[in-house]
Amino acid sequence: MIVEVSHFLSLLATGLFFLVGSFALLTKPSVYISNLITRTYSHGFLFLIASFSIYVWLAITDNFSVQYIASHSNSQLPTFYKISSIWSAHEGSMFLWIVFLSLWGFIFNITIKNDQILKSNTIGIISLILVGFLLFLLITSNPFQTILPIAPLNGADINPVLQDPALAIHPPTLYLGYVGFVIPFACALSFLINGDPGIKWESLIQKWSVAAWIFLTIGITLGSWWAYYELGWGGYWFWDPVENVALMPWLAATAFIHSLSVSIKSSNLRIWTILLSISVFSLSLFGAFIVRSGIIDSVHSFANDPERGLYLLAFIGIIIVSSMSLFVARLSIIKPSKTIKRFSKESFISINNIFFGALIFSVMLGVTYPLIYEFLFDQKISVGAPFYNAIFIPMIILACIFMFFSIDSKWSRSFNFHFFIAPISLSVISSIITTLLISYIFDTSNLAILISLFAGFIVVYRYVIEIMNSLVMKKYLNPFSAIAHFALGLLIISISFNSLLSSERALNIKINEFEEYKDLKIFFKDIKVLKNSNHDSIEATFVLENQKGRTFDLSPEKRRYFTRGQITTETAIFIMPLKDIYMTIGDQLDDGSWIVNIQINYLIRWIWFSAGLMAFAGMVLMFSKRNI
């Protein structure tokens, strides 16, 4: 009964959003109409959030007459996981995705007081997108379906790898990021619809875009961290298709935020800014399509259903093609007023746009090429790390070098470059020395890594000097840009060291025996079988001793869950500031020995720390008073 109320509220919301969309795009703008739009949208949102809250409550109270809850939750679960089970599969996560989309629209709706026309159109566009996705939800993937007349006594349980705090918050954070870009997207479109080049939509949406970017950054980082310790993959990035479809909107968003700052300052690069704002949201939608159509097999993909795929493709296709057509039709009104001076800040940012555009294109190629190839030649190929490394490493190094020089550039003025000014020469020389020292200490001549390290160090050193200057000499420094770029340098250094120093090995080891790996002595102390309420597990205990005589225990596990028969590995990780010692346990061999995988991962936590620092930089901008 209650689930029908929730279902009905969703239908009602869909109707209201449809009305908002029609008001905004079909009627002549006036004060009355924009008031009507604001209020109707808020009511639609209210109904939708009420519907979702009821749904959450149904999940908490174990209402297994709802089919979705019955197949993804269980009465034994803690309340926290009962709630997160809602987004553990397709229907519920789509529901959450839509609620977040409407939430962004709602906050925009109640906070923007001026720019009535721009606002009405923006809300109208968001509403139409909401209608499309709500219909998708209700028609092809209805989470309100019930099992009647007799509800099962208990649910089928949540996927065990999802019973983890990081994973419970990873999807919502990522979704908040994805759908947050609906605000710049809808604003750019309503700017194009209005066709008045005088409208300053860019400064209106800067903080909105940065907020969505923060969520996206944190969401991706959480996913990377989770894959490391929960899936037992032992790395931070795998170029998995679904990671890639999250990376593309992030790259586009990063370029967009850069380009936006130019458009705010001088109305230049408007074509880029609008194109990027459309791209970010389109790529977010593309990600939703890839994950939910089942077109790619991956740990992330939901169950395969061609009908869903076609509906999504059609709807997303309409959104993308119509916004691109509008963009092309209005190209003349967004023509730049001034030309960009050589070596001005604008010129560097337009180079940055080109770099990011090329990176997005390469990732898109890597994601789609295997699909097209399989379609044409009926053979499976996979595009993996070598392809992406070959493209990303040189591009990022070049981008870093351009960025290094852009620090001294000025808005709308060309600058004369002098190598012999102190900050530049100091950071270049100290980076060269550092890189040479590293090459000597670690005895490496791997050029890709050494040049990456050099690129990372010039950025880090340069910003350290800048930050000192701003603290001591009170020289003006944009804190957002300084922290974010410093974090990028740190990220590049961490990744380089990680790939230079990390190593792994599979050992065959019997109980009560010693093995040695690098400077570690590994003693296989014990193995036991544990029976738990919902799974059996094999837990091995190893005592490790390093050269300094420090000992610690590591207990990797293998689990088999009863309800789904799923086997998961539980990694054991010993964390030190500079490295992780990471163990997983595999199968037992005929001679009684066990296959154990041991990895030493250097600076891996620094990678996530750098990404977190970038998100923090975004927060600095969010809380600063001025537009930067």
């Binding site: 194109l275 493709l313 997303i316 993308i320 093609v321 097209i372 379609f375």
Partner: protein, 173 residues
């Protein structure tokens, strides 16, 4: 230059959308399905439930042969559908593949037995002759000849699209 730009901006997304349309609608062919006809190989294997020895002539003329194992997770997913097939009266013969006897029996006890007979192939001899690469794998055998072979999980969709057309055309079961 401007026309080229407009063209690229519109053509790129459009071509992607069409590519995905073709990929999504091109679902008629299943990569796991194979319709080559060949004789069922000669074999001599034990029965999982008792120690009676079975060979190719002790089986029916027309049946479904399903390769499974207790260690195979996809088999666990497939299992309820096999149960529903056997309830419909379709004769399913199991081929327990590279499995410990106790594990196989425990599985049958725990989840139910959809099989008329279960061949016990500990060393994977018959599986080797059949060209089995992994479990689950399912064969349709008519008149002692293998006519359909499917690698991977059989579910309602696969049954209706891969097996049923052949079964209906031969008018068996």
């Amino acid at each position: 230059m401007k026309i080229v730009f407009k063209f690229i901006v519109l053509i790129l997304p459009l071509s992607l959308i069409f590519t995905f349309y073709f990929l999504l609608t091109n679902n008629e062919s299943y990569p796991g399905a194979d319709y080559d006809v060949f004789d069922i190989p000669k074999f001599e294997l034990g029965n999982l439930n008792n120690d009676k020895t079975l060979n190719e002539s002790s089986l029916d003329k027309d049946f479904i042969l399903n390769v499974w194992a207790s260690w195979c997770i996809t088999c666990r997913v497939e299992h309820p559908y096999l149960m529903s097939l056997s309830k419909k009266g379709i004769p399913v013969v199991g081929l327990n593949y590279k499995d410990e006897k106790e594990d196989g029996l425990e599985w049958i006890e725990r989840y139910g037995n959809p099989y008329k007979t279960i061949l016990y192939d500990y060393k994977g001899v018959l599986a080797m002759d059949l060209g089995v690469t992994g479990a689950p794998e399912t064969f349709l055998i008519i008149d002692g000849k293998i006519v359909v072979r499917y690698q991977g999980e059989v579910n309602e969709l696969i049954w209706n699209d891969v097996f049923l057309p052949v079964i209906e055309s031969k008018d068996i079961f």
